[in-house]
Amino acid sequence: MTDQTFETGPGGAEERRPNALIRGLKTLALLRESWMASIGIGIVIFWVLVAILAPVLAPYPYEQQIGPLVNAEPGTCAEPDRPYFTDEGMERTTGDECYLLGGDNLGRDILSRIIWGARPILIWAPLATLLAYTAGIFLGLLAGYKRGWLDDILSRVSDIILSFPVLVLYVVLITVVGRSNINILLAVTFASAPGIMRIVRGLVLDLRNRDYVAAAQTRGESSWYIMFVEILPNARGPLIVDACLRLGYTIITLGVLGFLGLGLPPPDPNWGNLIAENRTVALTSPQSVVFPCIAISSLVLGLNMLADGLREISLKD
């Protein structure tokens, strides 16, 4: 149906580009086109707000242990006048200490820990994804545009990395370099950059044959200019969709690493650690594991829906 190309003619609406903020909001408003994307972005924004407002939202300090509420069921309140320890010393419960989502194996409020636990996840997962993307885009552009031996080497190396079971790769990497925020960031980058590189390379292989790239070549533009100015901006559509999905996977990865005890280091709570710390009591007091799991899956689900919605919107146009 080549006949259905509708274009804005000379008499068409004049497009004004006032400023970046309004343009950004307009792009965001496009998300309404798809209910999937709307729900997805809603969930994501919800968790971002939770993370930002953690000091206000969390009913208890996340490290506060109230002995009487160890492994308490959701909605349980402490019996009055029981002793527990704080940094200042021994205190006694008043009876108003209620854990909405129950208590964990040390008597801490699961709700507060989930709220605070959103912070490291929402800081380190996007950072790791961003870093992986920077590396992946750079290598993918090189491999796809330069081709030849460079492409051969980069592709083979990425094949090798991708052929390792991901989990084994993480375990090996983190045990070797040690467990710290930065090292986990680097490990995630190392493991996901090859995948991103392949996507970028595939897109570049298509885009490099476009006439506008040939036009840039025939006026003697440098390879860097062509790669980053002529090609990369036109690959952004699929990359944005993939970034949303990959951010979700990274969050799962952080969760899994936390569960294995290789995740973001304590004492700050994060969703992965929450599950790990309580897995011994998972059968007797499931709330301490189930709620962090729900937190992770809802955020990942939100990102996936956002990605699907974005893809749907981009196809519609």
């Binding site: 006949d3 259905q4 006439d211 025939t218 036109n234």
Partner: protein, 695 residues
């Protein structure tokens, strides 16, 4: 061709209205469409892109997709109302009673299934009593009917193992196997090379004679319609503006749009200097921005305010006996003898010194065969001879056309010239500089800016992420024409003026532009550095006829103004005859013939040139044309025929000598050269392919 006497039409469409529903609004795509197809009749539907012709085809199949909806009107197939039919009945009808042939043959065939099997499925599926053997026999017969040699081999082949032309023949065979009453052809030859197209067109014309199948032929090419159809409906912006027997449309067009279309087609006798094309001004209105009254009003030279723009115009019968109808209020008022003026002829431009010279230039691409057998035999590298001994000169202000079908090496030559590749041998000089082995990075800015290119695909030529002005400005800064911000901007605007685009286009993005406008920006970009040579690689082949005329005209004007040398790469002999001063005909990487345009288009010519000329459909009933249909597929460049490259398809092949020896080059006056074994005297004795009856 109206052999049958049956009175009931095969297809009758009355008052059909179709709309598409988009995010924004309802968009009427087809308005008040009427069409009657008698048994055995071939009806053409012609129009530019966006006029609704493909929508009509989809509607006849009742296959509209989710966004389109038939608003009202009726489609009757052999008296049965198709609007009333259930999905089940429609499925029975499609592929058996109504068959369709699409533009892309490869997309219509299942790539993982042998062709024989795919053909056999048609009778097996639609006729309950049909046996396997029966189906196989009929499939083979039908392949012979569509003139596929070696039907048995084709039956056992997968679609990718045969050529595009053969694929399209298979698709047509598949369509005919169920013995349909109606065959829908939607641009069946657009994706094919001209010489292949000629074969398919002849086949289609024969089909209606041989099988008595009624056809609806949808095309943008008036020349093809003339060769295949009995009657034709011209569509413009969703409406049929004129319908008549095919000869009447060509000889006595009554609608200003039809007239305008003919003014845009480079028929023989047109000349860029003496009789230039007259483009239709303005552009096709968008479906949601149609003007009141006549849709063509704003672009019409005979527009009368207060009359043409007040009411919707009915389709009026203008000649009852011949069945000619037209959607124009003023069809019998316009005096066409006066109307055809307004295009002034101009003197031919001066031709200056040599700016570009190719001397036995060669470009080979190595192909590495990594199979074990190849490595053991020591023959692991073979060469694709994309360009072999290319020699010609181009002078200042001259238009040199390089003509040939896909794979002839014309684009490779452009790449070498532009410095995207370097030549393997020979010599290539540009303004007295040797650029044979100079890739773009080794060239001086002065050389780079004076050798620029206009690209083929309008949707690809501009970077979708940058504004139009930004892209032109980049070229200006890169070439150091201007550096000051304000001056660059000024130059961008003056370039937009040059290509006759509004200045506020500088702020637009490519997607807001039409194909023709994008191509204009591409031209502006190429001329930003005041080049002395511009290579135009099929710059208008992807555009609509009326837009083509305007863009070619613009390119000619600018070339004339700056005395630029234009290297025009094309497969379209019509356009080439119209605008070239010299023509170079290429086949499989070699030059078959070259000379001035007049020399190449008159005998003596190379048999390949002869075939090319005959293959081009001409939208002019006064022109008589010899039909030469080339046998066999285009050989692969990887394994070109020995001797003369054209010997496998040449209708005038002498014999063994053509297969063994490279043909000698006959040179006549003015550097007219023909590479052929046939003696020059004999080549001279051939009749011209194209004869104009009037002369």
């Amino acid at each position: 061709m109206n052999g049958t006497t049956s009175t009931e039409p095969v297809l009758q469409i009355d008052g059909l209205n179709i709309s598409y529903f988009t995010r924004a609004a309802e968009i009427p795509a087809v308005i008040d469409f009427n069409l009657t197809v008698a048994p055995g009749e071939a009806v053409g539907v012609v129009g530019e892109s966006g006029c609704g012709k493909s929508t009509v085809a989809m509607a006849i199949m009742r296959y509209m997709g989710s966004a389109g909806r038939i608003m009202n009107g009726s489609i009757r197939f052999k008296g049965r109302d198709m609007m009333e039919m259930s999905d089940e009945e429609l499925r029975d009808l499609r592929g058996s009673e109504i068959a369709m042939v699409y533009q892309e043959p490869m997309a219509a065939l299942n790539p993982s299934m042998k062709i024989g099997r795919q053909l056999m499925e048609v009778p097996l599926f639609h006729e309950p009593g049909c046996t396997e053997d029966d189906a196989r026999r009929r499939a083979a017969e039908m392949l012979a009917n569509v003139r596929l040699p070696d039907a048995e081999r084709v039956m056992e082949a997968y679609p990718h193992q045969i050529s595009g032309g053969q694929q399209q023949r298979v698709v047509i065979a598949m369509a005919l196997l169920s013995n349909p009453s109606l065959l829908l052809l939607d641009e069946p030859t657009t994706a094919l090379d001209v010489t292949v197209e000629a074969g398919i067109v002849q086949l289609i014309a024969d089909i209606s004679r041989q099988f008595g199948t009624a056809m609806v032929y949808i095309s943008h090419n008036l020349g093809l319609i003339l060769e295949t159809c009995d009657r034709v409906a011209v569509m413009y912006s969703g409406e049929v503006v004129e319908e008549a027997p095919v000869a009447d449309i060509f000889d006595r067009p009554q609608h200003p749009y039809t007239r305008g279309l003919f003014g845009c087609i480079p028929t023989p006798g047109r000349d860029k200097n003496a009789r230039p094309l007259k483009p239709i001004r303005g552009r096709l209105p968008l479906p949601h921005q149609r003007p009141p009254g006549c849709n063509f009003g704003p672009r019409c030279d005979h527009f009368e305010g207060g009359r043409c723009d007040t009411q919707s115009i009915p389709l009026e019968v203008s000649d009852d006996t011949r069945g000619h109808s037209v959607r124009c209020l003023r069809w019998n008022e316009i005096d066409w003898s006066l109307a055809n003026t307004g295009v002034e002829s101009r003197p031919a431009p001066e031709v200056g010194e040599v700016v570009l010279q190719a001397d036995e230039m060669q470009k080979y691409y190595p192909v590495h065969d990594r199979s074990l057998a190849a490595i053991l035999s020591g023959r692991s590298v073979r060469y694709v001879k994309a360009n072999e001994d290319i020699s010609f000169v181009a002078r200042k202000g001259q238009t040199v056309a390089i003509v040939g079908e896909s794979g002839c090496g014309k684009s490779t030559f452009a790449k070498v010239l532009m410095g995207l590749e370097t030549a393997t041998g020979g010599k290539l000089s540009f303004n007295d500089d040797d650029i044979t082995t100079k890739a773009i990075a080794d060239r001086k800015t002065r050389q780079v800016r004076s050798l620029q290119m206009v690209f083929q695909n309008p949707n690809d030529t501009l970077n979708p992420s940058m504004t139009v002005g930004g892209q032109i400005a980049r070229v200006i800064r890169k070439f150091g024409v201007e550096t000051d911000r304000a001056k660059v901007q000024e130059r961008v605007l003056s370039l937009l003026d040059l290509v006759k685009l509004p200045r506020d286009f500088a702020k637009r993005r490519p997607r807001q532009l039409s194909g023709g406008q994008k191509q204009r920006v591409g031209i502006a970009r190429a001329f930003a550095g005041n080049p002395s040579v511009v290579v135009a690689d099929e710059p208008v082949s992807a555009l609509d006829v009326s837009v083509q005329a305007a863009v070619t005209g613009l390119l000619m004007d600018i070339q004339r103004e700056f005395e630029t040398t234009l290297l025009f790469i094309s497969h379209d002999m019509g356009v080439v005859r119209y605008l070239a001063d010299r023509v170079v005909v290429m086949y499989l990487g070699q030059i078959m013939e070259q000379g001035t345009t007049d020399e190449v288009f008159e005998p003596p010519y190379h048999p390949y040139t002869e075939a090319l000329l005959s293959a081009v459909p001409i939208a002019d009933t006064s022109v008589e044309k010899k039909h030469i249909v080339l046998e066999g597929p285009l050989p692969s460049v990887l394994d070109p025929p020995k001797g003369c490259p054209f010997n496998t398809r040449c209708p005038r092949k002498l014999g063994a000598i053509c297969e063994t020896e490279r043909p000698p080059v006959h040179k006549t006056v003015n550097g007219h050269a023909i590479a052929c074994h046939i003696p020059l005297a004999e080549l001279e004795s051939y009749e011209p392919v194209i004869k104009t009856a009037a002369e």
